[in-house]
Symmetry: C2
Subunit: 325 residues, 2 copies
């Protein structure tokens, strides 16, 4: 939960004069998201989300995110649409931070994931990949699986305080990924953070996708591997093959995967687990005093990594390669 910046009404009123969305009627800080400060705005023109970008997001990346949301929305992906200012710019400044107003999406995120939700998210991810195929901007994946070593090095001496033996296991995994990380798979713009709290449902229907602030260019199948990590494990961290099967089949119905992509799935899933392990380790070891955010346990992703290390093929994720080809 996160509201890092309290916004005085006088500053918000002045900020909204740059927009054509009427008079402010109310605003409430939203206890969701960990990277930015989010507010639900009510104005004469309806409901909107106001986001203040905190230091965790690089300001130079913001035009990429905003353009991507506009691009995807124009192609029928239900995601927040940036509201442009009267001067045409999609970004303004509020309380010393870059700030954007986007449309409000109805829908709720699923605290208890069922296989039917995995079907829906697999299909939505594939549609997102197809809709992004002609997106021209480019953003390098700063958290690519092969770039994680400096993150772990930054807190190497404290990693074993989380769990004895974790540091050497991580270093072995980094070495493995350096040599095994796939090359030449289809690339494009990926969401890179499509966790359950970023996917909205209305009843059983997937109604929208939010939070594009990790979106970047990378292998499309890596995005699938992220979703396997995010959607297909139970609370006890055991992998659910029914959910994995549902997600992979639904994805492949919209965007068939090549043999090479399917063969790479265990390695991609290891890289994805290590990427979320990396940020969780760093967050866990760097909780500021008086923090308002309780970090999530790194051990969850250490255990998921162990599962992927024992996977031989995409079959271990619930499907035979021939089913998806």
């Amino acid at each position: 939960m996160a509201v890092y910046t309290d916004v005085p009404v006088e500053e918000l009123d002045a900020f909204l004069e740059g927009y054509d969305i009427g008079k402010l009627l109310s605003y409430k800080g939203i206890a969701e998201g960990v990277q930015n400060s989010n507010f639900l705005l009510h104005t004469d023109a309806g409901y909107f989300i106001l986001t203040l970008y905190e230091r965790l997001v690089a300001v130079e990346d913001l035009p990429f995110f905003v353009a991507l949301m506009e691009h995807l929305a124009a192609r029928g992906i239900n995601c927040p649409q940036p509201v442009r200012r009267r001067d045409g710019r999609p970004l303004g400044e509020l309380c010393g931070r870059a700030a954007a107003v986007v449309t409000f999406l109805d829908g709720v995120w699923m605290r208890r994931v069922e296989a039917s939700h995995c079907t829906a998210v697999g299909e939505a991810l594939a549609r997102l990949h197809l809709a992004g195929a002609d997106f021209r901007d480019h953003r390098t994946n700063a958290l690519a699986a092969t770039k994680l070593r400096p993150l772990f090095d930054s807190c190497a001496d404290r990693i074993d305080s989380i769990q004895p033996g974790m540091l050497s296991a991580i270093r072995d995994e980094l070495d493995f990924l350096d040599q095994a990380w796939p090359r030449g798979l289809p690339e494009g713009v990926i969401h890179a953070d499509l966790f359950p709290d970023n996917v909205f449902f209305l009843g059983e229907r997937l109604s929208g996708v939010i939070d594009f602030y990790f979106a970047c260019n990378d292998m499309l199948a890596y995005d699938v591997a992220i979703c396997l990590n995010a959607w297909c494990f139970e609370n006890d961290h055991s992998y659910n093959v029914t959910k994995g099967r549902a997600l992979l089949q639904a994805y492949a119905r919209v965007r068939p995967m090549s043999d090479a992509e399917l063969a790479a799935m265990p390695v991609l899933a290891r890289g994805a687990a290590l990427r979320f392990l990396a940020t969780r380790v760093v967050d866990w070891l760097n909780v500021p005093p008086g923090a308002l955010v309780r970090p999530k346990s790194p051990q969850e992703y250490f255990r998921k990594l162990r599962f992927h290390q024992h996977a031989d093929s995409v079959h271990d994720y619930g499907v035979a390669a021939r089913e998806l080809a």
Copy 2:
């Protein structure tokens, strides 16, 4: 900011079947309030606030609060109106907690208080007192100024860690209030927590009052003294006579105060400062590890108490008694 309980959508859907407010379209945890978990609901029927009452609120008090909001709303006070369930009850149960749905009020609370806001809140407080005059339920003020000793005793050995000498100053003040606390002043139902974040404005117009979870029966002038503490000090904790004068004059225009009430104002203000000092001290010294709430500084109210100790009459708050009689 507070959302103590995450509500799964399945449980919320089941809970809302008890209400006649349509289908759930979205809900967001609100980063406001420190006592309860609050969510903004969007349903077919509009926007509502869902409150889950956490352990800090005694369940047996909830019917008082709910009945009071209904009573005041029926008398033209713009406050949240409890939405009754299909079975007529105003309270249900959700995630193991008592829960209520109330109407959503537009408006924003003022981060930067001006004298004009003090005028508005003084008038609103007096209207609230008049509207509550025929409210029949009764709730004892558990945090009455003369009942604070056990709260301070519970952490007496650590109080001087906040500021050397604080403990003996508090004990002297408790002794003083025991003998000086006024009796026989007009009583009624008071809000008891009318801080800026509980008062909404639309432009310059006061549009609503929220958070009745400290409401109780006590001296009406004590509620005025609470507002002097809450609204009329600057960020450097200096008292602003212009704001105090605005608040007191506006209150007295709607509900004239007796000479006895005016004469008691310095003592009432000391009791009010000590009451907020008490809960701030307890919160400050009892932050649980990993707390999501950063406690407010107790020193603010220690300094306000010092101001009131040097006040001789209501004149020190910005008005002469004869102006208000």
